[in-house]
């Protein structure tokens, strides 16, 4: 498609507008405009103006118009169809809206009678359009098959309807016969007019014309003196006949047109309502799936059609939603892909892959194509219907906008989450780098001072320095281990290796691991005898106990004991670690398990802020619970509860 438009001498891009009438010559006009647009490298548009006078042949005409518009579209035009009172005004408005530089109109090769009597339409456009150039393309008048098409006009055709007209006139005549004594013949005309109105409302224009002719004849024959002949003595009645005939014709014409307009309005009303329902449903939809469901539901109802929507996934398109029972075959999918890749409609009812089972149209947003919507109409005619096409277009536009809105909302949400995560990560990094650097600085300090030759340190100081360095190295190692555990727990990489665990063994391991720091402290162990084995990951649970005991040792006076107890609780094994420290403010009891939460301890016990959150992670992975509480006698009590039912498997 030719979208890169050259510029004319004035610098503005050339834009052509082909105005089609829907007549048989429209195709020629379209092709002529296209050639011209190609030569000029211009964008081009095609417009069809629907006026009250040309909408009278609604169905056939609109189908032909629709066909021409599709043709123009497939040749690269942007097409519009506008409804207006005046063709000239509509074209003028359309031209200024699209920045049209040249309007292309057709002129019949041979002037018709109507054109001789009135100013031909192309002349009207030339005069009314103002400063835009008008190109007039001469069109051979093709054989008037358009009129033939029209001749099968709407309404109930067939003998029955004409029989009905005849019967109606007969009934009116009989009624008038009864009323003859009290009614003047001229007033009987009103009854015949009534019959014409009824027929034009119920049956259509042609029947109405027939009815008025029959009416005139019946009136003349039965009621105008001399009766029972077609002769007319009083020439005044000729005026009555003429009036009856003309009024009948006019009324029938008006009624018929009003009916057609009412039909069009009703259609529009239905379309507007269905669009309204869709937009209402879409407003309520908060995620893509509910948007898709709303679109499917509404299109199914409004168009009586089956629907599918395809989104791009990787190399191809995948069906994300479809009406019940709608299956796409290989061919349909490739048509959908064509529609997606070219960003234009394809499939049944178009000139591209019309053999496809569905009509596909792209879901377009300002930023690009979202996917493709495939519609399978109930009736073959619906594929050709301008109204259905227009409605499908509107649905597609609404759906695209709603999806775009949901996507944007999701992006905004994700951006917010990412921001929050970044903030947290920055805080973590700060904290981690601090925790890594502190022991490293001590170790580096010790090593450099030992290395310095000019510092003649006494042996006692050297030993103290080395002790510090070893302690700090130990602390660094624990921190790194905790950090690794935390990462593994958080990433879900920890797989528990459950084995039957002995609580006494567990406590023993933990105390053993803490030997270096605990050797000068009193640790009291009270374990109920004959406790059952409990399913646990010994390594991780040892880590929990080490962390808990280490905390207790750290946050309690050096001369106070730490008490470890174990016993049976409600369906669980309870392990507690108690100290004689200051305890924690009630409000903080929950928060101690938060990552990088550190108690404000004056002596700066140098924890990692990770220990308890690791404990929580591990215990919860065992389906257990961990709780911190202040003891009535002072100090903190940490309770770990592990479920007993896990032992069943041993």
């Amino acid at each position: 498609m030719n979208t890169d438009s050259k510029r004319d001498s004035s610098g503005a891009p050339e834009r052509l507008l082909a105005c089609i009438s829907g007549g048989p010559n429209s195709e020629k006009l379209i092709r002529a405009t296209r050639r011209l647009a190609d030569q000029l490298g211009a964008q081009w548009y095609t417009v069809y103006v629907e006026t009250p006078s040309n909408s009278k042949y609604t169905r056939e005409n609109s189908e032909r118009v629709w066909h021409f518009l599709r043709l123009a579209e497939s040749l690269g035009a942007q097409v519009t169809s506008v409804a207006a009172m005046s063709i000239v005004d509509a074209i003028k408005e359309c031209a200024s809206r699209h920045g049209i530089t040249r309007v292309v109109v057709g002129k019949p090769g041979r002037p018709r009678l109507k054109d001789r009597l009135f100013l031909p339409i192309h002349e009207k456009i030339i005069r009314g359009i103002g400063k835009v150039d008008v190109l007039v393309v001469s069109l051979e008048l093709a054989s008037d098959n358009g009129r033939k098409v029209r001749s099968t006009a709407m309404g109930k055709s067939g003998l029955i309807s004409y029989l009905f007209c005849f019967l109606l006139i007969a009934m009116v005549t009989i009624a008038c016969e009864f009323l003859r004594p009290v009614l003047d013949p001229t007033n009987m005309v009103m009854f015949y007019l009534l019959a014409v109105v009824i027929v034009s409302v119920r049956l259509g224009r042609k029947q109405a014309v027939v009815t008025s002719v029959l009416g005139v004849m019946a009136f003349d024959f039965f009621f105008v003196p001399p009766r029972l002949t077609f002769e007319v003595v009083d020439t005044q009645y000729l005026i009555t006949f003429a009036a009856l005939f003309v009024v009948g014709m006019v009324i029938s014409s008006l009624v018929a047109r009003a009916g057609e307009r009412a039909e069009v309005l009703r259609m529009r009303e239905v379309q507007t309502a269905s669009l309204y329902y869709l937009s209402r449903d879409l407003t309520a939809a908060v995620d893509i799936q509910s948007v898709l469901n709303a679109v499917v539901r509404n299109v199914e109802e409004a168009l009586k059609a089956r629907l599918t929507i395809l989104f791009p996934t990787g190399p191809g398109l995948d069906v994300v939603v479809a009406s019940k029972g709608l299956k796409l075959d290989q061919y349909d999918c490739s048509v959908a892909e064509w529609a997606f890749q070219n960003g234009s409609m394809a499939g049944r009812g178009t000139d591209i892959y019309p053999a496809s089972g569905l009509f596909f149209l792209p879901l377009r947003t300002p930023v690009g194509l979202l996917g493709v919507m495939g519609i399978g109409f109930e009736h073959e005619d619906d594929y050709q219907s301008q109204d259905y096409r227009r409605l499908a277009d509107a649905f597609a536009a609404q759906a695209s906008m709603a999806m775009e809105r949901v996507n944007l909302a999701k992006q905004a949400e994700q951006a917010k989450i990412i921001q929050a995560r970044e903030n947290l990560e920055r805080a973590l990094l700060n904290s981690i780098s601090h925790d890594l650097r502190t022991p490293l600085s001590s170790i580096t300090g010790v090593l450099t001072s030992l290395k310095a030759d000019d510092l003649n340190l006494p042996d006692q100081s050297r030993r103290e320095l080395l002790d510090t360095a070893c302690g700090e190295a130990e602390r660094l190692n624990r921190f790194v281990a905790n950090l690794l555990d935390m990462t593994r727990i958080e990433s879900g990489a920890v797989r528990l290796k459950l084995e039957p665990g002995d609580v006494q063994d567990l406590v023993g391991c933990a105390i053993g691991a803490l030997e270096p720091i605990a050797k000068n402290r009193q640790i009291v162990v009270r374990i109920e005898p004959m406790l059952p084995l409990v399913a646990m990951d010994m390594v991780l649970m040892t880590q929990v106990m080490v962390n808990l005991i280490e905390n207790s040792l750290k946050y309690s006076p050096a001369d106070s004991p730490v008490e470890i107890g174990a016993g049976l609780g409600q369906d669980c094994l309870e392990i507690e670690v108690c100290d004689y420290g200051k305890g924690i403010a009630e409000t903080e009891l929950q928060r101690v398990f938060d990552k990088f939460y550190r108690l404000p301890v004056p002596e700066g016990a140098g924890g990692t802020g990770l220990g308890l959150s690791i404990c929580k992670g591990i215990v919860e992975a065992h389906n257990g619970s961990i709780k911190a509480e202040n003891r009535p006698s002072g100090g903190l009590r940490m309770v770990v509860r592990l479920p007993l039912d896990g032992t069943g498997e041993f």
């Binding site: 190295a473 190692n477 281990a481 690794l484 290796k497 084995e499 039957p500 665990g501 002995d502 006494q504 063994d505 406590v507 023993g508 391991c509 105390i511 053993g512 162990v525 374990i527 084995l533 990951d537 010994m538 390594v539 040892t542 470890i564 041993f650």
Partner: protein, 234 residues
Amino acid sequence: MAGQNNRNSFYKILVVDDESAIRRFLSTVLSNDEFLLHEAESGNAGLAAAATVRPDVILLDLGLPDLDGIEVIRRIREWSQVPIIVLSVREREDDKVAALDAGADDYLTKPFGVGELMARIRAALRRSQQDVPEPVFSSGNLQVDFPRRLVSVDGQEVQLTPTEYDLLRLLVTHVGKVMTHSQILKQIWGVAYLEQPHVLRVNISNLRRKIETDPSRPQHIITEPGVGYRLKTY
């Protein structure tokens, strides 16, 4: 101890580790009049050195660039019973168990202290050179008299069930070495009991109650969490 070595007066130690810092540290620590150090920086070099140098102890890092450490253990075990002590930064107990089951004698998790390393090397050497077990084992307050099947703590005789005695004897014959759960289960109860670890837990717990002064702070039977048990000597 050095006198027992009749080839020369040094114990030859082969270090297989790709990190030069660790090799330098080990060579500084171990190059004294007791040990002679050989270095290899990859699994294949280690295998070659093991054949040519004929070391008395191998210190093997599990994370090697070319070969998996466990594969190295397996290949050495095909022809040699030289004590292998695994050094690993990996915290995963599965790796330790796999190394021990493949035939490694002991493991040390990096970072480790020199004292710990020396103790492990000496224990490994002692085990490998002790062809005939001593009839009486004594460590701290624990004494096991094999010919009389007599176990005593602080001079007091302790009554053990046959299984407990077998368990203790197994640990004593591998004193200082970690025995994995599956190794113990296989040797005491048989292969059928490999999936019944609670048998082992209960017996260890009972054994501790009889021979440990404070079962919550075991001095003799040490648990290596997730790996197995080790009998400690004093």
